[in-house]
């Protein structure tokens, strides 16, 4: 059986080579040495700790009006919604429930998807549309959002409002 050795070795080598053709993968994430990361990226040096945003509320005549306020960085949709629901300036009102809770928000270009777990009645069409208007006006100023999709996680219903549509 000596004559079988050479082809067997060749086959083994071919198998080993074919097994290694791909870019080597990692079984788990690898941490990069902090010394190799550009200085300042992993700390807060030179970065502002708050930012000014525009929040939209309803006045006594039911019109949307804007108010500028400073809020701590980072600016997130959850922060904006919480501000809209809980910190209403005097003489103005909000259409958002204080119980509103957002599980996740995804912004892609000029479109935002908000997933709400509580405090949003997707069945009550009048109050829902008012709340959607307030939300899209605020997000347009702060994120450049023109299309807003709000998904009620409880029943899976999604409402869409497109402020760029005529």
């Amino acid at each position: 059986m000596k004559w079988l050795r050479t082809p067997a070795f060749g086959l083994l080598a071919a198998l080993l080579l074919s097994a290694c053709t791909l870019v080597p993968t990692d079984s788990s994430p690898r941490a990069v040495n902090s010394d190799d990361v550009p200085s300042g990226l992993l700390n807060g040096a030179g970065v502002k700790q708050s930012t000014t945003v525009s929040l939209w509320f309803f006045d006594a005549q039911g019109r949307l009006v804007s108010r500028s306020v400073r809020i701590p960085a980072p600016l997130t949709i959850s922060t904006l919604v919480a501000r809209l629901a809980l910190h209403v300036p005097s003489g103005l009102s909000t259409a958002l429930s204080p119980q509103i809770a957002i599980s996740r928000a995804v912004v892609r270009g000029s479109e935002a998807n908000i997933f709400i777990t509580a405090g949003f009645q997707s069945e009550d069409s009048a109050s829902t549309i008012t709340a959607m208007q307030q939300l899209v006006a605020t997000l347009r100023d702060n994120y450049g959002i023109s299309t807003l999709n709000v998904t009620d996680v409880a029943n899976g219903r999604t409402l869409t409002i497109d402020s760029s549509a005529p």
Partner: protein, 460 residues
């Protein structure tokens, strides 16, 4: 599996050696280049991620509204996919990357930059996460490495082709080199074959005095020299012994002949003893004559006196002479020649050839012997047939050896010859540039055929 020739094995060794070496070098090259390419690509992707993360950090802190457009432009510029996580808010750059494409372990907020290469839909993807604690955000970058895979596959293909080519080249080089290296072996084999056929003058050249081939050639030539010297010694010894025995044997034969003249006066027991003595002395004389002839032939001291003679007349004369001189029965002589053929032979030795063949036929046959002249293969042949037990094909070559005592003698009657008759036939016929063969006889026994080249009448 059939045994391969030495040349085949050496060629195979060259090819396998070249294949193994080129495979090792190709593997080392492949893994080395792959390491360099992958490390280099990951380092450049990491640097790009740091730059992007710094831009994202500034945008988050100063102008959050510009973040989606920033990520989109980063993706377009770097052919990667970017995501930013701000608490529960994800900002995406393109549709390729979504939060679901980021492994769960990356979503856990950490303080270190982490990276991992994973396989998604058979495509390697490098994922980098850069925490931005200043804005409580994390920047993610996904980069597909399909182009890297393609580059490595192309490299592997080129190296595999190179390995195949090198193996073929190794086999070709091995074939050429072994042909030159083993040529002296072929010469040695040819020379040994010539020596075995009786050409003791053949020698191997020694062109390279200090090479292994020269050693082999010298050893071979030395062996042939020793062989020649031994044969010479043996031939001289046989010649001397035969010569010394011939005179006393002649005296003995003459004495026996004188006794035979007075056979009637002897006692019956003495008559029987005389008969035995006469027979044995005749056999002994014949043996000594054969030995002398053989020794002369071996030593090359016998001189051929070739004459161009008509074969029909020559054979007729030889048969009658042998029959008369050796008191053989009348032999049937036929000719199938269409025209007269001439052969160039030494008359005395040719007569010896015919005599030995006839004696052999009568000794081992069962009484019926015929001699036929034939045209054959550009020459002429003399066929001597008998109706004896014949000779087995396996023994037909060996019966021409000196003193050969195979199964032939025992099967072909119980008569005793000198053991040199057919050997002498073979020696003499060879010197006439002819050949002697054995086949089945139409009489049921053995047919000995002496083939001789024909010549033109009157030629030298």
């Amino acid at each position: 599996m059939a045994t391969r020739s030495l040349r085949g094995r050496l060629t195979w060794t060259f090819a396998v050696g070249a294949a193994v070496l080129s495979t090792v070098f190709a593997s080392l090259t492949y893994f080395g280049v792959r390491h360099i390419i992958v490390v280099s690509r990951q380092a450049s992707d990491l640097q790009q991620a740091y730059v992007n993360a710094a831009l994202v950090r500034s945008a988050v802190a100063q102008e959050p509204a510009s973040l989606p457009s920033l990520l989109t432009s980063l993706d377009a510029a770097t052919t990667s996919s970017s995501l930013v996580r701000l608490g529960s808010t994800w900002i995406e750059g393109t549709t390729v990357a979504s939060p679901e494409t980021i492994p769960a372990v990356f979503r856990i907020a950490g303080t270190e930059v982490i990276r991992q290469v994973v396989i998604e839909h058979n495509v390697p993807v490098l994922i980098i996460a850069v925490p931005l604690p200043a804005v409580r955000a994390t920047y993610f970058q996904r980069r597909e490495l399909a182009d890297l895979n393609g580059t490595l596959n192309r490299l592997l293909g080129i190296l595999a082709l190179g390995t195949l080519f090198t193996s073929g080249l190794g086999a070709y080089a091995g074939r050429r080199m072994t042909r030159r290296t083993l040529a002296p072996l072929a010469d040695t084999a040819q020379a040994a074959r010539l020596v075995a056929e009786g050409d003791l003058a053949v020698r191997l050249p020694s062109n390279a005095p200090h090479s292994e081939v020269a050693t082999l050639s010298a050893a071979f030539n030395e062996m042939v020299e020793q062989l020649v010297q031994r044969l010479d010694r043996d031939a001289r010894f046989a010649s001397d012994v035969s010569h010394e025995l011939r005179s006393p044997l002649t005296t003995l034969a003459m004495s026996a002949e004188i006794l035979r003249l007075h056979e009637a006066d002897l006692h019956p027991d003495a008559r029987e003893a005389l008969s035995l003595l006469t027979t044995d002395v005749a056999t002994f004389q014949s043996l000594v004559e054969d030995l002398l002839d053989m020794a002369k032939a071996d030593a090359g001291t016998d001189t051929l006196v070739n004459e161009v003679l008509p074969l029909n007349e020559l054979v007729t004369h030889c048969v009658l002479s042998a029959t008369r001189r050796h008191q053989l029965p009348v032999t049937d002589l036929r000719s199938e020649l269409t025209s007269e053929c001439y052969v160039s032979v030494d008359r005395r030795r040719f007569e010896r050839v015919i005599t030995n063949l006839l004696e052999n036929a009568y000794r081992y046959g069962e009484g019926q012997v015929s001699v036929t002249l034939l045209s054959s293969d550009g020459g002429a042949a003399v066929a001597v047939d008998d109706n004896g037990p014949g000779i087995a094909p396996a023994e037909r070559e060996r019966v021409f050896e000196r003193f050969y005592r195979g199964g032939v003698a025992s099967r072909r009657g119980n008569a005793h010859g000198t053991g040199l008759g057919l050997a002498l036939v073979s020696e003499h016929v060879k010197r006439f540039a002819g050949r002697v063969t054995i086949s089945e006889s139409p009489l049921g026994g053995c047919r000995m055929v002496v083939w001789l080249p024909t010549v033109e009448e009157g030629s030298e």
